[in-house]
């Protein structure tokens, strides 16, 4: 029904997703650095949350101690025990709940992932299921956190003069194996992604831009508002360029500064054999864009496409 394949465009992070309607959608893999950054943000958030909670617990315990006129023996054991339980359960819930609840939400991303603009999705265009999210988050523990904690403990043991032997190297190898795992497959999957059947993609984000053919000289059939000249390009002038150049011109008209437009103007004039004037570049380019697009789209309707100026 649906599958994912490499896009013909050749970008190494581009994939194509086929929706159940049979529509091919381009999808972009998240870069590995963005994912590492997102994880760091998440860990910082979790750790600061836990630290704040720990301080709160200490503050409450301090208050209880103060209530007994600073005599630790008179403190109620029940209170301390209760605080201990609250802390232990809080740590457990935050550690696993933070990732689970957020990735199961409609955004499919933790706060860190949202900040860097990525989200998780099911591989092979399937539905993202709670099981998949649980599996990928349980695996994170052995990939990163257990080896890091174990290495820290070993370092402390070594500092205090104990012999740790080969164990440090074994752990480092394990850590490196999982850390480098995403670099040894095309989709940048980590072990958790493999087991859960998920991957991490860039969150699509595009705003609807203005209609170029409804503004400036394009809307006024090639007439410049500045000089009143009407630009009208002949068949030969319009058959120089193809779709690639058209879309480059579109991008420049949308967000390039006037100086860049001057250069483009000069190039186009040279190419189509016009004498480049000055001062009315934008109107010229708008008119050229509208007429070139009208011609290329007209050909397109008859099944004739011109990819770029070389074809």
């Amino acid at each position: 029904m649906s599958r994912a394949a490499t896009s013909p465009r050749g970008d190494r992070r581009e994939r194509t997703l086929i929706t159940p309607e049979g529509l091919a959608l381009p999808i972009t893999m998240a870069p590995r650095m963005a994912r590492a950054g997102a994880l760091m943000i998440d860990v910082i958030i979790i750790l600061s949350g836990l630290t704040a909670f720990q301080l709160l617990i200490w503050w409450i315990a301090g208050g209880v101690l103060g209530g007994t006129s600073l005599d630790p023996d008179r403190m109620s054991q029940g209170v301390l025990e209760f605080l201990g339980i609250v802390m232990a359960l809080f740590v457990f819930c935050i550690w696993y709940g933070y990732f689970l609840v957020q990735e199961l939400g409609p955004r499919g991303a933790t706060l860190g992932k949202r900040i860097v603009g990525i989200r998780i999705a099911a591989r092979s265009s399937a539905r993202l299921t709670p099981e998949a999210v649980i599996a990928r988050n349980l695996l994170r523990d052995i990939e990163i956190f257990y080896p890091v904690v174990a290495l820290l403990v070993l370092t402390m043991l070594a500092q205090s003069g104990q012999d740790i032997g080969m164990l440090g190297w074994v752990l480092t190898g394990w850590f490196a194996l999982f850390l480098l795992f995403p670099f040894f497959n095309r989709d940048g999957l980590r072990a958790g992604d493999v087991v859960a059947g998920t991957w991490v993609v860039e969150r699509p984000r595009a705003r609807l831009a203005a209609v170029l053919s409804a503004q400036g000289a394009a809307a006024a059939r090639g007439t410049s508002a500045l000089t009143g000249v009407r630009y009208d390009f002949g068949e030969s002038a319009l058959s120089v360029y193809g779709e690639k150049e058209l879309q480059t011109l579109e991008r420049m008209l949308r967000d390039s500064p006037p100086e860049a437009l001057q250069a483009v103007h000069a190039t186009i004039c040279r190419k189509i054999g016009w004498d480049p004037g000055a001062g009315d570049e934008r109107a010229f380019l708008e008119a050229f864009y509208a007429q070139l697009r009208a011609k290329l789209e007209g050909d397109m309707r008859f099944g004739k496409r011109k990819a770029d100026k070389f074809s």
Binding site: T19, G197, Q247, A294, L296
Partner: protein, 361 residues
């Protein structure tokens, strides 16, 4: 990576009025102007869904969502064949993709999933792992026997398995009274709740480790099972030297039937993943691993619940009930309950179907 668009966090709500349709010189732009109202409406609905779920969306919008999604999808197909406006194409591709994530997103929230999980999904997932559970059970029994035999042959092994338990009376050569004292109950419940919370964190971490290690073809999961059960075997041997093995079994059975069952399931879940990666059968390795991983994850959520139960049992009834028969009764009841839940409980209803895993592919 796109730079985070800060302006998108603040600059909401400034929607320009679309230009007059007739002012557009191009046919493809007229096509776009005629439909962009629907696209913008779809985008607004999607943004609200991403923010806060379905509750904040008006019924009309929710009913219109599938139609709007198909409109946008068909607009994209048409635009690809008729329009050369790169910005519109990019917008439509992003819009359809975002809508696809919502329309074909997770069908159920966490609460509904949990309900389906308790009412049938969990026990079915456990039954699907029957072969791995059998293998893990065999390995655990073998581990316990190995632990017993090792220590029986050479007492030095005991100290290697339980390193440096200073002050712990449970060492070879301890008297019967000393050992019996370690099995005695506590005077009151004080301190036990904290003990339970500690046990829970610790045991869950061990189980999650056993599961996650399955990724390395299941071998480390099995080693972890062997190690844990070898400890148990050594302990059994120690108490057997003083003829206390029945008392120890009773003491352990209170929580052990639940806890060991949980460890068995997590080891089996890890093994399941490892086995499906080593022998993927007809599927590609990645698909086989993904299907097994999702099945095993269901079992693992159940294991965490079992660990909560085990920790409570370990902290309270085990320390408060002293009679051997009473301890056996509690442990046996729990074991019967779990077995009945996993093997006999087979509801045939919608609640279970909600969890049915889609075939990978």
């Amino acid at each position: 990576m796109k730079a985070p668009v800060i302006s998108s966090w603040f600059g909401r709500g400034q929607v320009e009025a679309p230009p007059d349709i007739t002012s557009a010189a191009l046919r493809s732009d007229r096509f776009r102007l005629e439909r962009e109202g629907d696209w913008k409406r779809l985008e607004a609905i999607i943004v609200r869904m991403e923010k806060g779920g379905l509750r904040r969306i008006a019924d009309d919008d929710l009913i219109a969502l599938p139609a709007l999604y198909r409109t946008a999808a068909s607009s994209l197909s048409v635009a690809r064949e008729t329009s050369l406006d790169a910005a519109t194409l990019a917008y439509l591709e992003a819009l359809v993709q975002r809508a696809w994530f919502q329309v074909y997103g997770p069908r159920q929230g966490f609460v509904r999933w949990l309900r389906g999980f308790l009412l049938g999904g969990w026990s079915r997932a456990v039954r699907e792992l029957w072969l791995d559970i059998g293998i893990a059970l065999f390995v655990m029994v073998a581990g316990a026997v190995a632990g017993w035999l090792l220590v029986a042959q050479d007492e030095a092994w005991y100290y290697r398995l339980f390193p440096a338990g200073a002050g712990d009376p449970r060492v070879p050569g301890a008297s019967r009274e000393q050992l019996l004292a370690t099995l005695a109950n506590e005077e009151s419940a004080a301190g036990l709740a904290g003990f339970a919370a500690q046990l829970f964190s610790n045991n869950s971490a061990v189980c999650i480790l056993a599961f996650a290690l399955g990724f390395a073809f299941g071998i480390p999961s099995l080693l972890l099972l062997v190690h844990n059960l070898a400890l148990l075997g050594a302990l059994l041997w120690l108490f057997d030297t003083q003829g206390l093995v029945v008392e120890l079994a009773a003491w352990l059975s209170v929580h052990g039937t639940t806890e060991l069952f949980g460890i068995l399931l997590s080891g089996a879940a890890g093994l399941h993943i490892g086995r499906s990666m080593a022998f993927p059968g007809q599927l590609p390795v990645l698909d086989a691993a993904a299907a097994a991983g999702r099945r095993a994850a269901v079992v693992m959520v159940g294991v965490v619940i079992m660990m909560v139960v085990a920790a409570l049992l370990e902290a309270f009834p085990r320390q408060l009930v002293e009679a051997t028969s009473g301890r056996f009764l509690i442990g046996g009841t729990m074991l019967t309950f779990w077995l009945a839940y996993f093997i006999l409980y087979r509801p045939a209803g919608a609640a279970g179907d909600a969890l049915a895993l889609p075939e990978a592919g």
